[in-house]
């Protein structure tokens, strides 16, 4: 047994003890971190998590606004593609109508976005004037009949 483990000074001098119970060496108290209650820590963590969620949510919103959201991004790209296709179809149709009107001698209807079907002088009577029809047709009779 180690003699240093006994604190003889605390006892009156009674001679060497025959038996002394083993004394556990005193441990130095660990430096304890100052603590609040668990409730306070939980509230702080919750507030922090709200802030973190706001930051993440902001990032997600920016991502969505840029059109690169994982779920909506592909749909947005598809929608853009579809609208571009429609626009290009419209643009492709426009020169035709212009050409047809040019053939029929009109210059006023090119902005109406006509389809290729509507470019024929017979089907759209509103665009067909007797002056346009006159060079190609001998009489305006077919035009008036199509109106009725």
């Amino acid at each position: 047994m180690d003699d240093e483990r006994y604190e003889y000074d605390e006892f009156p001098d009674l001679g060497e003890p025959e038996y002394s119970p083993p004394v556990r060496p005193r441990r130095r108290p660990r430096p304890q971190r100052p603590r609040g209650s668990t409730a306070v820590m939980t509230v702080r963590l919750t507030a922090l998590s709200v802030v973190a969620a706001a930051v993440i949510g902001g990032g997600l919103a920016v991502q969505m606004a840029a059109g690169s959201d994982p779920a909506l991004g592909p749909k947005q790209a598809k929608a853009v593609k579809a609208s571009a296709k429609t626009r290009s179809n419209g643009a492709a149709a426009q020169p035709e109508s212009t050409d047809s009107t040019a053939q029929t001698g009109s210059s006023s209807d090119s902005s109406s976005g006509l389809s290729s079907d509507s470019t024929s002088s017979q089907s759209s009577p509103s665009q067909v004037t007797p002056t346009q029809v006159a060079p190609t047709q001998s009489s305006p009779a077919p035009v008036t009949s199509s109106v009725s």
Binding site: R30, Q32, R33, R35, T38, M41, T42, R44, L45, T46, L48, S49, A52, A53, A54, I56, G57, L60, A61, V62, M64, A65, A66, G67, D69, P70, A71, L72, G73, K75, Q76, A79
Partner: protein, 184 residues
């Protein structure tokens, strides 16, 4: 008509996603601290216990907010039953159900701490070990049903929070090489 690039239209959905990520991180931290406590890996077990409890409670609150915000989502329209009962929502049915089960497990296993007087400490300990499953199911839900589950930043978060948990779990549950105390 749905606008795909207007965050204002999808506020509840975005907020729910954000709180889902936060909940996953908090649960990972709580599980990690819990395993560290049981493995006696810290010099300050009392403080660790406090952090473990606080992160678990904050995680539970984040899960509740994550679910509650979905009630406001006009696209999903899950309803209270869809959020509380597994397999009711048809959108990514299995992964959403995994999330619902995980949330219930988190609530039961987490809050059982306060009922351990009635449950009994041994039984509570045995129950509490299943908290690791909450984390695993939460990741499965996030990756399987979460919109951002396969995003690079989300994978980075999962790896960053998951590796310490996995290492701790190995350290805790691997059989010890040291001779048992008391035997010489």
């Amino acid at each position: 008509m749905t606008n795909y690039t207007d965050p204002g239209q999808h506020f509840f959905w975005i907020a729910s996603r954000a709180f889902g990520v936060v909940a996953l991180v908090l649960i990972a931290l709580s599980v990690g601290f819990g395993i560290a406590i049981s493995a006696r890996a810290s010099n300050e077990p009392a403080y660790m216990r406090q952090v473990h409890e606080a992160t678990a409670l904050a995680g539970l609150i984040a899960i509740a907010i994550h679910a509650a915000l979905l009630l406001g989502d006009t696209y999903l329209k899950p309803g209270v039953a869809g959020l509380a009962i597994p397999f009711v929502i048809s959108t990514t049915r299995i992964w959403t159900a995994v999330g619902v089960i995980s949330a219930w497990l988190a609530a039961i296993l987490g809050l059982s701490f306060y009922a351990r007087k009635w449950i009994g400490t041994q039984r509570w300990r045995r129950m509490h070990r299943w908290s690791l499953a909450v984390y695993v199911l939460g990741i499965a839900h996030g990756v399987g049903s979460g919109t951002d589950g396969l995003s690079l930043w989300m994978i980075a978060i999962i790896v960053a929070t998951g590796i310490p948990v996995v290492l701790m779990a190995f350290y805790r549950y691997m059989p010890s090489q040291e001779p048992a105390a008391g035997r010489t």
